[in-house]
């Protein structure tokens, strides 16, 4: 499949074109180039995917080498693409959701003076993300990995004249550096251990190594943990999740594309891609599952009390990413990727819906001031409702199937599986609650904004509503790809991904009855969340205030987001800033280095101030110096 290179390169060309000459073109032309390139990528991806499906199983993965990228001694990195079920699914999600969000952006960003710049960045992001998923070795993946990080920075800080946006971009970049460092170390260790960075060779050689059971830390465990450090940065897991809520400073379609649907799932993709390594390192898997489950419930609990429409969704994203890592951590990589896919649909839908609300309500983001928008924007409301039901995990929408697959896999995990399942279940209830809370506060009841704040609330243009509708359709139907046998489905997704992710199907665990029972529990959790949200915000609106007052300490901790930002400021940022300012700047630079340089200057100037008196301007004085010199020479020779 030699034409695979077109998939990432087309958006790159469009990015370069829009970046260089876009300023002089009309908005129509810029949008056409930007959207057209992604549309073409999507069509080619679809073609490649279909062509891959008709190949016999043993022809996979299809690896295309284009050229040798780096050769140095025994080290070699190719520029090549690998297409298999996993990367094929990923390119479809990236280009498909990406295309819809590009279309949406035409309407959303229409009045922005940086229109061409926006599309150039967005296309550059598409290029980087596609490189990340298509690469056939870790080093090339790292190129895409860094590329998406850069684009994330550029797009978070897109409205850079606003200080909060510029700061948020910087924060995202700096926090991601920590993770990227882990990834880079992992890549180096991989080369050191396996003598190659190529997926195929690494996995072949890794398969020959003995598995490292729990409690044994071998080289594979170290590699996997380092890789997971990279994943925590990019995919916003504890302890590096802090940049994602701030990233909401960017334009909303960017939040949808980069900070919900695609880029933040890069870590999940990496773990699933490296399943051959992770499956060897049971200790690392337990760490992945623990961090995933911990992040899921931690972020969901913060999401319960947030009041900014985009921040609720941001914490929800962090929490859902935690689910994906929980799935990977219990060895159910297919479930993780399945949830990645359904999440891409319904979270993009929710973000774009939120964008539609913000757009229609003239920039209003505080849900305490919204309310009653259902009558003004009925179409957005129904789309948002679909997304909410999907993420809450109410059947038969997509979120139910993927979440249930994860919970089922967690239950069957031999290591602390029941605990992970319980955490996942509580998170599911939290998710359902905060999503319905968001929905009710935004769309139902009476309007709480005043005429001064919002002039006229209006429904969004079709270019924004059509992508919403398509995503809503996928949010409804995508789940059936993973319908479990217990419900009469075939779980296509699991067998589909089983080969790519070296994952044994988990269907033989437990019984159908138990699976049905657990399913009922998760649906019950979702309905409980819905019921509480209904009780709090429709039936008894005075209750939330009383609960908040009753559990004051808990409420303020949640409201303050566990004060993680403050702790990081005090423990990491403040010492670094103080050391840099007081020691490195004031002492080392200003005192030691400048002092040395200026000291030499002062010394020479001081000496010269005395010596220059010799230059008196009197001819006979000079003659005297000459005479003195002559006498000294004479004395020297005659002594």
């Amino acid at each position: 499949m030699d034409y695979l290179w077109l998939i990432p390169v087309l958006p790159l060309v469009a990015a370069a074109f829009n970046g260089v000459v876009g300023k002089r073109l009309s908005k129509k032309a810029v949008g056409l180039v930007g959207v057209g390139a992604v549309a073409a990528s999507f069509v080619i991806s679809l073609g490649a995917f279909l062509q891959m499906l008709v190949q016999p199983e043993d022809a996979l993965p299809i690896v295309t080498h284009y050229f040798i990228w780096i050769q140095s001694g025994g080290f070699q990195a190719d520029f090549g693409f690998q297409l298999d079920h996993l990367s094929g699914l990923m390119i479809l999600i990236v280009t498909g959701v990406g295309f819809l969000i590009h279309v949406y952006s035409i309407g959303y960003m229409h009045d922005d003076p940086g229109y061409y710049r926006y599309f150039a960045y967005l296309n550059l992001f598409m290029f980087s993300m596609l490189m990340l998923v298509l690469a056939n070795n870790y080093l090339l993946m790292f190129v895409g990995w860094e590329g998406v990080g850069l684009c994330s920075y550029l797009l978070i800080g897109f409205w850079f004249t606003r200080k909060s946006a510029a700061d948020a971009g910087k924060k995202a970049f700096v926090v991601n550096r920590v993770g990227d460092f882990g990834f880079l170390l992992a890549a180096l260790f991989i080369f050191w251990t396996f003598g190659s960075v190529d997926y195929q060779r690494v996995f072949e050689r890794a398969a020959a190594l003995p598995p490292e059971p729990l409690g044994e830390v071998g080289i594979v465990t170290v590699i996997c943990l380092l890789m997971f450090v990279g994943a925590t940065g990019k995919s916003a897991q504890i302890p590096l999740y802090v940049w994602l809520p701030d990233a909401m400073e960017g334009p909303t379609p960017v939040s949808a594309l980069i900070h919900a649907a695609t880029m933040v799932t890069a870590g999940v993709y990496m773990v699933a891609r490296s399943a051959a390594l992770f499956s060897h390192a049971h200790g690392a898997l337990l760490v992945v599952a623990t961090i995933g489950a911990g992040t899921a419930i931690f972020a969901a609990s913060i999401g319960l009390v947030q009041t900014d429409i985009k921040r609720v969704l941001a914490y929800s994203t962090v929490s859902q990413l935690g689910y994906m890592f929980l799935a990977c951590g219990v060895g159910a990589y297919a479930a993780g990727i399945f949830h990645l896919m359904t999440h891409a649909f319904f979270k993009a839908l929710l973000f774009l819906g939120a964008g539609s609300v913000i757009h229609g309500a003239g920039g209003l983001q505080d849900i305490r001031k919204m309310g009653g928008l259902r009558r003004r924007m009925p179409w957005t409301f129904s789309m948002f409702l679909v997304g909410t039901i999907a993420i809450a995990g109410i059947p038969p929408l997509a979120g139910f199937f993927s979440k249930d697959m994860i919970l089922w896999s967690a239950w069957n995990s031999p290591n602390y599986g029941k605990i992970f399942w319980t955490v996942g279940l509580i998170t599911a209830a939290f998710t359902s609650f905060y999503m319905f809370r968001l929905l009710i506060l935004t769309f139902c009841g009476n309007a709480r904004y005043t005429q001064d704040e919002v002039h006229h609330v209006h429904e969004s243009p079709p270019s924004m509503l059509i992508p919403l509708s398509i995503l809503a359709v996928f949010s409804i139907v995508a789940g059936f790809a993973g319908a479990p046998p217990a419900l009469g489905g075939h779980n296509i997704i699991e067998s589909f991904l089983a080969d790519s992710s070296h994952n044994a199907a988990s269907a033989e665990h437990g019984g159908a009855a138990l699976e049905g029972l657990l399913m009922a529990a998760s649906v019950g959790a979702a309905l409980a969340g819905l019921a509480v949200a209904y009780l709090f915000y429709i039936a008894r609106p005075e209750l939330p205030g009383r609960v908040a007052a009753g559990a004051d300490a808990m409420y303020s901790i949640l409201k303050g987001k566990y004060y993680v930002d403050e702790i990081y400021d005090a423990v990491i940022v403040w010492p670094i800033v103080r050391t840099a300012r007081e020691f490195l700047w004031r002492f080392v630079d200003s005192f030691v280095i400048d002092g040395t340089v200026n000291g030499f200057g002062d010394m020479i100037r001081g000496a010269a101030r005395g010596l220059r008196r010799m230059q008196s301007g009197y001819v006979r004085a000079y003659a005297g110096w000459i005479l003195l010199g002559g006498i000294l020479v004479a004395v020297w020779f005659l002594r």
Binding site: S616, G617, V619, R620, A623
Partner: protein, 100 residues
């Protein structure tokens, strides 16, 4: 045959006269004359040694010194004229602007 030491003594005396003249006189022409006397004293010493040791290089050096002295006199006198035109004076101590 006059012994070498007499020549050397005369040379040294002339040189000392030149040096003293250079330091006590203010007139720029007198300074030039003092320099000429010093050069002549050196020439005398060169010739005396040349004659004493039967070696020609001492006399060759004298020619070099003479050539340099002639050139120096020409340049020096030109400078004297230039200075006099600007300053209306031949006192060297009044030409002291080039200093720290």
């Amino acid at each position: 045959m006059i012994p070498l030491n007499w020549y050397l003594l005369l040379g040294a005396s002339l040189f000392l006269i030149g040096v003293i003249g250079f330091f006590v006189k203010h007139n720029i022409i007198a300074l030039l004359l003092s320099v000429e006397i010093m050069l002549s004293a050196v020439n005398l010493t060169f010739v005396a040694f040349s004659s004493q040791r039967g070696e020609i290089s001492g006399q060759v050096f004298v020619f070099f010194v003479l050539v340099v002295a002639a050139a120096e006199a020409a340049v020096g006198l030109a400078l004297v004229i230039a200075i006099f035109r600007n300053r209306e004076s031949l006192n060297v101590d009044r030409s002291n602007l080039l200093r720290w």
